[in-house]
Every structure is written in structure tokens, then in C-alpha cells.
């Protein structure tokens, strides 16, 4: 079906952007000439564009303007609809739409009933249609910004979307004139956003992506091996996210209001909507400053409300929710059969990741060697709200050259399903204090094949003949006890009886990562190495799991080569624990 053959017009110029489409907010991004991802602000100057549409007398409002309609025009305002797309009514949770148009069953799909035309009539707007309208507005903002018509996009989706959801999203976008080149998972997009920075160093690492949004939090543990990403575990939580933090502040201010005015603003729909919008603003302000105010004109019974709260107070009130975030991340690491000590990076993504306390808690949970990528723990962190969109934009720039069919073929499971190494492969070295020898990993576990890694190894001081012993390594966690320095006389917890639960055992545990030597795979002799010379070892694992080893004196000629037969691919496809 080339243009010459069937007379079709050669594909028009493609202008592709990256879109992150959330239940709460959406973002659009493009890649500049230098390959740098930039987030596009819409006409109102918003980079986080609320995924909300509202209708007043036939006029459509979008984004922040629509969101503010939740107070006066909530029944004709549609919000939090992303997760409904491509689902049937029985499997959705209508809770987030409590204060806006409610989802309803419509034939085999889900729809909202709103007055979206000038006439008084209530119209049924399906979730597909509303998505189309939303994407149309996003694309139009991007087109305005770029000065050319946007007609394609890479869109991010959660890792647990179904094929039906993908299909529905693709169709809804197409109806808005946007061709979905590829849908990529949100956590991978966040990883790519960081890895695509010019200063990024290509390194094998385990990354936890914690995407903390408005109505859901999604965790993914990603193995990044030579820039190839594999998701090891995921978890999704619909009870711990931004709105739960809003609720903490709503309750706090409501109680304050009740104390003075004897009326509960939460009991009136409009009062609650007002307070909710303000509380969210207060919450965002608390991410930056130590103090924030909350003022609502005529909150309830015509009474104005104004108050301030400091960050310490807020963190105390929200302590339980913060604790739940930390546990989600711990759980995801456990599900990946990993230990906290295995994690090299934590990428905090999503709007709620601006919250300083959440990243501080993670700093305490992880060892100091783990990098916590969030605004409050790393000055050079990327705005967490924009990570998905940036990643999508970078991917768009990578694939927009290709025909869509080729993208589909290349992202097909026949290409993406790949054996991953169960154990690390490495070389034995010796050290003075360890007689038996130490394992040095060259290829980490969970590396997709084919792969190759090269290492440069030192030799004994005088040079000479050395042996390169290739083996598998198994990571082990060594736990040892450190005696706590005894406080003089009485136990220290004498006056803190109330919460002395954890202080009770006196010994502090020290946990460290050590290698256990697994199966020996091969040995190679490298002879007559010069004094001060180095030995270069290359291990290559083929796609069929055959192993090739090459060892030689660095800079020298020839060297030793050998190979091992193929290993098996495990037949068991079950998910890990949980």
C-alpha cells in the first residue's frame, strides 16, 4: 500500500505530541529541535490541565475553568472519567464523580447525562465522546502553541489497562483527529523522561516509580538494563491518593468552622465543593511554604471563612495517609521479590509527589544510596506532574518517523516477550580479607537477552597467569545486630511509656547486600599478564540463552574464547507473591 501503488496521498506531515491523560489532570508535551521535552501550557497558562469539561448554555468549558464549575454547575460538569473509558458499568467505581455528573449505564457503555446544548434538554454523552472532546481541546491547545496542526500522539496509560480500554482510547482520540501512534505505560514514560536528559548516565538500575495522582496511586518496579525497561511488579491503590489529602484539610477546616459557627459546611453540597477547591489549593501551597491560608467567601449560611495552617500541623493531620503511601511502595518492592536495598532510584511522579513529607518518609525508608527523585529531595528533579507527558513526547519523537503498522509490529509481544536472566552473571575476584573470593556482577539479574557486558579486571601485583571464573551470583541480605550504646542507668524510654512499642529491643539491625556465589559457569585462563596489566572480560548472552565468554589482556591480542550451551526458559508464568 505504498503511495505509488494505490495512489493514496503520501502520509501527510505528522505532528506528534505526548499526552498524559489522567483522571484528575492531563498534560501535553512536545520535543523541541534539540530533542528536549517541553510541557505545553494551554491558553490559560496551565500545564496541568484538569481533565474536566463543563457546559453552560451550550458553551463548553475545559480545564481549570470547567473545574471551577464544580461549585455552581456540578451536574453539567464531567470529571474523573478516564478510568471509565472502555469499561462496563459493573466494573467501575462511581465514587470520584460524587460531586459532578454521575456516570450511568448506557447500553453496553457508560455515559453522563448533561445539558450540553443551548436547549434545556439533558443529553447523553458517552465516556468515549467526552474523551474525544477532551482530547480535541488538548490537541487544539498544542496546535495553537506549536503553530501547526497536531494530528498524532503518544498517550500514556496505566500498566493495568485492558485491551478494550486501549482500543476505546485509540478510537476516541481518532475521533478527535489524533492518531495514537503508541500507548506507553505511565511509569515507563516517567523513567524515559529522566533517562532522556542529556546528563543522564546509562546504568543498570532498579527503579521504583511511584505515581501518586489525584484518585489513584500506581506503583511499578522497573528493571532498567542497558536502557531496556522491564516491569517487575505493579500495584494500584484507589484509597490512597491526592483526594485523601484534600479530605484531611477539608475535615480540619470544617471542624474549625463548626466550632465558630455551629454548622458543618460538609453537609451542603455547594459549601463542600467550595471548601474542596480551596483545600486543594491550600494543600498545594503547603508543598512550597511552611504556612498556607484557606479563605472561602460565603462558605456556608453566608458566612465567610478564613484560616491558616502550617506545614507541621498538616503533616500531623495527614500522617496516616502519608504512612499509607510509604507502605504502598514497600509492598511493590516486596511484590517484585526485591529488598529495599535493591532499589537504586525512586521516581516520584504525579501531582501528589510534590508533597515534601512523602519524599522525606521515603528517604528514611531507603538506604542513603537510593536516589529519591522528587522536588524536595533533589534540586534537579523534573516536575513530577509532567513526567508522563514528557516521556510520551520523547517516545513520540522516536516513533513518528515510522509507519503506524511498523510501530504495531515492533511493539508486538513476539518482539517484546523476552527471556530475562534469573541470576546475575559475574566474575570471581579476590580480596585480602575474603579468602574464598568475591563475586563481582557484570550482568545484573532481570536483564533481557540478548545482552553483553564488558568488565576490566585488575590482576595480582606482579601480573602473571590468572583465572577468570565466571559464575552466577545470588543477592543475599545479611542481617547483623549492632549493640545500641547503653544509656546510663535507667532505660531511656522511661517517660515515653505510651509509644515505647518500637524502642523495646535494644539491638539495632544492620542490613546489607551481599553476593552468594551460585553455579560456576566456566573458567578461562589468561596467561602472562603484564605487571599492572588489566584483563578485559566480555560476557554475552544470546537470545537463545547461549553464553559466550571472551577474556584477554586489555590492549593485548588474541585472548581466550569459549561458549556454553543454551539454558531453559522457565515454563511457569505465574505472578510473584501476592
Amino acid at each position: 500500500m505504498s503511495s505509488q501503488e494505490d495512489g493514496e496521498i503520501s502520509s501527510p506531515e505528522i505532528t506528534a505530541i505526548g499526552i498524559s491523560f489522567g483522571n484528575s489532570n492531563s498534560s501535553i508535551a512536545y520535543t523541541s529541535g534539540e530533542g528536549k521535552a517541553e510541557v505545553i501550557a494551554n491558553e490559560e497558562g496551565d500545564r496541568q490541565i484538569p481533565s474536566v469539561l463543563s457546559y453552560i448554555e451550550g458553551e463548553e468549558y475545559h480545564g481549570t475553568q470547567a473545574k471551577s464549575q464544580l461549585v455552581r454547575n456540578s451536574r453539567n460538569t464531567i470529571a474523573y472519567f478516564r478510568d471509565y473509558l472502555g469499561k462496563d458499568f459493573d466494573s467501575i467505581d462511581p465514587t470520584p464523580c460524587h460531586a459532578s455528573a454521575h456516570p450511568q449505564k448506557h447500553e453496553s457503555t457508560i455515559a453522563f447525562s448533561v445539558q450540553d446544548k443551548e436547549s434545556e434538554a439533558q443529553n447523553i454523552v458517552t465516556v468515549s465522546e467526552i474523551t474525544t472532546r477532551h482530547i480535541r481541546r488538548l490537541a487544539s491547545s498544542a496546535s495553537d502553541f506549536l503553530g501547526k496542526s497536531v494530528n498524532a500522539a503518544v498517550i500514556t496509560v496505566p500498566t493495568n489497562v485492558t485491551d478494550e480500554q486501549r482500543e476505546a482510547l485509540s478510537e476516541a482520540a481518532k475521533a478527535a483527529g489524533v492518531d495514537v501512534l503508541q500507548m506507553i505505560s505511565e511509569p515507563t514514560a516517567a523513567v524515559l523522561a529522566y533517562d532522556a536528559r542529556p546528563e543522564a548516565i546509562l546504568k543498570d538500575k532498579i527503579i521504583v516509580v511511584a505515581d501518586l495522582g489525584g484518585t489513584r496511586s500506581d506503583m511499578a518496579v522497573v528493571a532498567s538494563r542497558g536502557g531496556v525497561y522491564s516491569i517487575l511488579s505493579t500495584s494500584h491503590d484507589y484509597e490512597t491518593a491526592g483526594v485523601q489529602l484534600d479530605q484531611v484539610l477539608i475535615d480540619h477546616f470544617a471542624k474549625e468552622f463548626i466550632k465558630k459557627n455551629k454548622t458543618d459546611p460538609r453537609e451542603n453540597e455547594r459549601s463542600l465543593a467550595k471548601l474542596k477547591l480551596e483545600a486543594e489549593a491550600t494543600k498545594k501551597a503547603l508543598s512550597l511554604g511552611g504556612n498556607a491560608s484557606c479563605s472561602v467567601e460565603s462558605l456556608a449560611d453566608g458566612i465567610d471563612f478564613s484560616s491558616t495552617i502550617n506545614r507541621t500541623r498538616y503533616e500531623l493531620l495527614a500522617g496516616k495517609v502519608f504512612g499509607a503511601f510509604t507502605r504502598l511502595i514497600e509492598e511493590a518492592v516486596r511484590k517484585a521479590d526485591l529488598d529495599i536495598l535493591d532499589v537504586d532510584e525512586v521516581i516520584l511522579s504525579g501531582g501528589t509527589s510534590h508533597t515534601p513529607k512523602i519524599s522525606q518518609n521515603l528517604q528514611r525508608l531507603f538506604p542513603p544510596t537510593t536516589r529519591i527523585l522528587s522536588p524536595s529531595t533533589l534540586p534537579t528533579a523534573i516536575d513530577p506532574s509532567s513526567l508522563s507527558a514528557r516521556g510520551a513526547a520523547i517516545q513520540a519523537s522516536l516513533v513518528q518517523e515510522f509507519e503506524k503498522e511498523d510501530i504495531e509490529q515492533s511493539t508486538h509481544p513476539m518482539v517484546t516477550v523476552t527471556p530475562h536472566l534469573r541470576n546475575a552473571i559475574g566474575v570471581m575476584v579476590v580480596s585480602e580479607d575474603v579468602q574464598k573470593g568475591l563475586f563481582s556482577a557484570l550482568i545484573e539479574k532481570e536483564t533481557a537477552v540478548p545482552c553483553r557486558r564488558t568488565g576490566l579486571f585488575a590482576v595480582p601485583r606482579e601480573g602473571g597467569d590468572v583465572v577468570v571464573k565466571i559464575c552466577e551470583g545470588l543477592r543475599d541480605i545479611k542481617v547483623s545486630k549492632k549493640e545500641k550504646p547503653k544509656t546510663n542507668g535507667k532505660p531511656a524510654s522511661d517517660d515515653s511509656d505510651l509509644d515505647s512499642d518500637e524502642d523495646e529491643d535494644g539491638d539495632e539491625e544492620i542490613r546489607e547486600k551481599v553476593w552468594k556465589i551460585g553455579a560456576v559457569l566456566a573458567e578461562a585462563a589468561v596467561k602472562g599478564v603484564k605487571k599492572g596489566g588489566k584483563v578485559e572480560v566480555t560476557i554475552k548472552v544470546e537470545a537463545d540463552l547461549a553464553v559466550q565468554v571472551e577474556a584477554r589482556e586489555a590492549g593485548g591480542k588474541g585472548g581466550v574464547r569459549g561458549s556454553l550451551g543454551k539454558a531453559r526458559v522457565a515454563e511457569n508464568g505465574s505472578a510473584g507473591s501476592g
Binding site: 456516570p103 511498523d406 518482539v415 579486571f457 585488575a458 602473571g464 578485559e536 556454553l564
Partner: protein
């Protein structure tokens, strides 16, 4: 990726290492896990190209340039079967969808009024009665979601039933309590449905002790501040384990508390006294219940201990053990004594033997010496008389002058001084009974010659017999 540097050295090649072409294949890679890689980022493109070289998946690749595309068009594309086949053994990373609600819902429960939340069984509301205090946070969240999907008022409206959200509120309340660690403990404290009653006397007589009591302690253990809680064990448990078990339960540190059963405190400021009164009442009630609970647990442990055959057995074993020890000790002492005695006797015997031997030796030595002395004396006499009898070695008829006699006797004395008793005996043997003077002279002269040869006498030292 760039080569990684390792600063620790490789080991020295062992002397006896052999390998064909310096390489030795030994083991095999562990089996690999099938996973999906994310089709994202520049390195994936490289991977897709690499993979496409494989016969296995040599069908279509990520086209590098548009001009490649023309050719690719004619290649076969992946089918739905390919997709299914490829994904067959992939390790799952997503949990299954929330799925069906597993426990049937009691119609009476569905009619509950949320206002009476204190009386509601939160685990039953969420369908978690199989788990109760053991339910994890994740399980509670998933259970909640399942219930919301079914009971959200919007769902009911869709199903045409009245928009009664009463049970939905029950669900929300149950979730609120079970997801709040403090509130959950308060509820778990009074969640009698999780209790396991101790066996009655009748049951105890019939059933297996361990089967009956173990679940009781597992259930009680949920209140323990220290976790894990030691288990009751079985017949094979060691004495220390059993002791630790009862020690633990007699010193049980419980977090159980009873505020959940508080009477509501009136919430208006008007009636302060009334409020304080209720608070005091509540406080007393909590304390009373706590004390009762401690007593109850103590009684329970007492009852269990009383029926625990292991304790009796350990006592018996201990007694038997003590007796055995005593006997062993006595036997050992006796043996020790006997051994000591035997050793002393042996020593004495050896001493005596040695003494006698040395005495005999001494006596023997004396005799021999005497005999030797006598022999020497006798031999000396033989030697001396031999020269005298042989006319001082002069031919017969020649008178031996005084000088001659002196010289010859001097020589004889000199020889006798040089030779040892054996040589003397030998010489005396030859000379004894010899009468012919020439022969005697010859023997002496030979002796003199021999002595010169062995260096005992100097040439010419023996004036007469040596000439």
C-alpha cells in the same frame, strides 16, 4: 554500555589448572524468566532490531528508514495466534482484576443502618470473615473496592432499585475503621468472632490436647505486643520450648483495650458534668474489662497447663534423670578410687622391682670386678713368671745379671701397663705352661711388635723384648 572497572584482582591461575585452549565450560545458566520488555525508548529500538535477526522472530523489525518499508510490506505480520503464543509463559506482573465477591452477603446485613456502625461486624460487611485480624491492608482495600463496585448508590439507581445508600455507608464505615490502624485495633480488641473458645472438660477428655488448644492460643496471640508468639507445639517439643511457651503466656503483654465498647459521650458543651460523668464511667469500665481479661487469660493458661501431659513427663524425666545422675556419680567416684588405688599399687610394685634389680646389679658388678682384679693379678703373675722361667729370655746357661733382670721386668711392667685385661688374659693364655725359653721370647717379641703396630708402644720403648 561502557566497560565497568573492577579494582579487586582476579585470582592467580592454580598450578594444576587445565583447560582446552585455556577455556573450561563447567555449568549452565539458570533457567530464564519470560517477561515483556517495555517498547519504549531508544534502546528498545536497538533491541527490536537485534531481536529481528533471530530465526525465531525474524519477521518484521522496527524499520530504520522509510525506504526499508517497501520491503517490509511484503513480510508477514504477526497474527493473533502469535500474540497468544508469545504471551503464554510471560510472568504476570498485574494482579487479577478485583473479581467476584467471595463471601455471600447476608440479606439482613444488607439492610443494616450505618448509624449503628458500632454493632456492625466490619469484616463481614467487607466479606473478610475468613481473614479478620489477619486481613492485610491490601486485602481490605481490594475487598472494599469489590463492595463499592456492587453497592455504590449509582449502581443501585442503574439497577432500578431505590437509591438507598445505607449499606454503602456501612461499607465506608467498615473501611474507615479497618484501614485506620488505631481504630482497627480497638475493633479487633472486641471482635469476639475471632475468638476460639478453650475446650470444655468433656472435649478435653476426648480430643487431642494439641488440636484443641493450639487454635485457642493462636487466636489469643493476636493481642500480643510481641510477635511472633510462641506456639503450643506438640509431643516432640523440647522442655525449654514448653517452658518458654508457658512463661510467655504467664507474662502476656497484651494491647487489647475496650474503648470500642464505650458509652457515647454527650457532645454538647452545656452539660459538662454529665459529660465528665460518662467519661469517668467509661474509664472505669475499660479498666474493669481489662482486669477481667487478664484474669480470664491466666485461668485459660492454668487450665491448659493442668492438662498438659508434657509437663508431667518432663517432671518424671527430670526425676529419672536425677537418679541416673546420682548413680553415675557414685559409680564414677568408686571407679576413681579404685583406679587411684590400682595406680598406687602398680607404682609401688615398679619401685620395688627397680630397687631389687639395682641391688642385684650392684652385687654382680662387685663380683665381676673382683674376679677381673684377681684375673689381672693372676695373669700378671703368669707374665712375670714366664720371663723368669725362661731365664729372662736369655739362652739357657747364660746367667741373667741384675741389670738384665731389671730391664726384662721393666719391659714386662711396661707391657702390662699398656694392655687391657683382655689382652693381658690372651697373652697370659699363650704364655701359661710354656717352658721353652725361645718360644716364650718369641711370644713376647710378637706382643711387643703388635703393641708398636697398634701404637700403644713406641719403637724401642721396650728395650729387651722388643728387640
Amino acid at each position: 554500555m561502557a566497560a565497568v572497572q573492577f579494582s579487586l584482582p582476579l585470582p592467580v591461575l592454580p598450578q594444576d589448572w587445565v583447560g582446552e585452549k585455556d577455556f573450561k565450560a563447567i555449568g549452565q545458566l539458570s533457567s530464564a524468566t519470560q517477561r515483556n520488555i517495555e517498547p519504549v525508548g531508544p534502546h528498545f529500538l536497538a533491541h527490536a532490531r537485534r531481536v529481528s535477526k533471530l530465526p525465531l522472530i525474524n519477521r518484521n523489525i522496527f524499520a530504520a528508514t522509510n525506504s526499508d518499508l517497501q520491503q517490509k510490506r511484503h513480510q508477514r505480520t504477526f497474527s493473533e495466534d502469535d500474540r497468544i503464543q508469545a504471551q503464554e509463559n510471560v510472568k504476570k506482573v498485574e494482579d487479577d482484576d478485583v473479581g467476584e465477591i467471595s463471601e455471600p452477603e447476608d440479606p439482613l446485613m444488607l439492610q443494616r443502618d450505618a448509624k449503628d456502625w458500632k454493632g456492625q461486624d466490619h469484616y463481614a460487611v467487607l466479606g473478610l470473615t475468613k481473614h479478620r485480624y489477619k486481613a492485610t491492608e491490601t486485602q481490605i482495600k481490594r475487598a472494599h473496592r469489590k463492595k463499592v463496585l456492587r453497592h455504590h448508590p449509582d449502581k443501585k439507581a442503574a439497577a432500578g432499585s431505590s437509591e438507598d445508600d445505607s449499606f454503602f455507608k456501612c461499607i465506608q464505615k467498615a473501611t474507615e475503621i479497618l484501614l485506620d490502624p488505631v481504630k482497627r485495633r480497638q475493633f479487633d480488641s472486641v471482635d469476639e468472632a475471632a475468638d476460639v473458645e478453650p475446650p470444655s472438660k468433656k472435649q478435653a477428655q476426648k480430643g487431642s490436647f494439641f488440636k484443641l488448644w493450639n487454635p485457642v492460643f493462636v487466636a489469643e496471640g493476636r493481642f500480643s505486643k510481641t510477635q511472633p508468639v510462641p506456639r503450643l507445639g506438640d509431643d516432640k517439643s523440647k522442655k525449654e520450648e514448653v517452658e518458654e511457651f508457658y512463661n510467655f503466656w504467664y507474662n502476656f503483654d497484651s494491647w487489647r483495650s475496650f474503648e470500642y465498647q464505650d458509652e457515647d459521650v454527650p457532645d454538647d458543651n452545656e452539660n459538662r458534668d454529665q459529660k465528665r460523668h460518662v467519661e469517668r464511667k467509661n474509664n472505669n469500665a475499660r479498666k474493669k474489662k481489662k482486669t477481667e481479661d487478664t484474669t480470664r487469660l491466666r485461668q485459660l493458661v492454668d487450665d491448659c497447663l493442668a492438662g498438659d501431659e508434657r509437663i508431667k513427663r518432663f517432671k518424671k524425666e527430670e526425676r529419672a534423670g536425677k537418679d541416673k545422675k546420682r548413680l553415675e556419680k557414685e559409680a564414677a567416684e568408686k571407679k576413681e578410687k579404685e583406679d587411684a588405688q590400682r595406680a598406687a599399687e602398680e607404682k609401688e610394685r615398679l619401685r620395688k622391682e627397680a630397687e631389687e634389680a639395682s641391688k642385684a646389679e650392684k652385687a654382680e658388678g662387685k663380683k665381676a670386678k673382683e674376679a677381673a682384679k684377681n684375673a689381672v693379678k693372676k695373669n700378671k703373675r703368669v707374665l712375670k713368671s714366664s720371663v723368669k722361667d725362661a731365664n729372662y729370655l736369655l739362652p739357657a746357661g747364660q746367667e741373667a745379671g741384675a741389670k738384665r733382670v731389671d730391664q726384662v721386668l721393666n719391659d714386662v711392667e711396661a707391657v702390662m701397663a699398656k694392655i687391657d685385661p683382655e689382652e693381658m688374659a690372651a697373652l697370659a693364655g699363650k704364655l701359661g705352661g710354656m717352658k721353652v725359653a725361645e718360644e716364650v721370647a718369641k711370644v713376647w717379641s710378637e706382643e711387643a711388635k703388635r703393641l708398636v703396630e697398634v701404637g700403644k708402644v713406641k719403637e724401642g720403648e721396650l728395650k729387651v723384648i722388643g728387640s
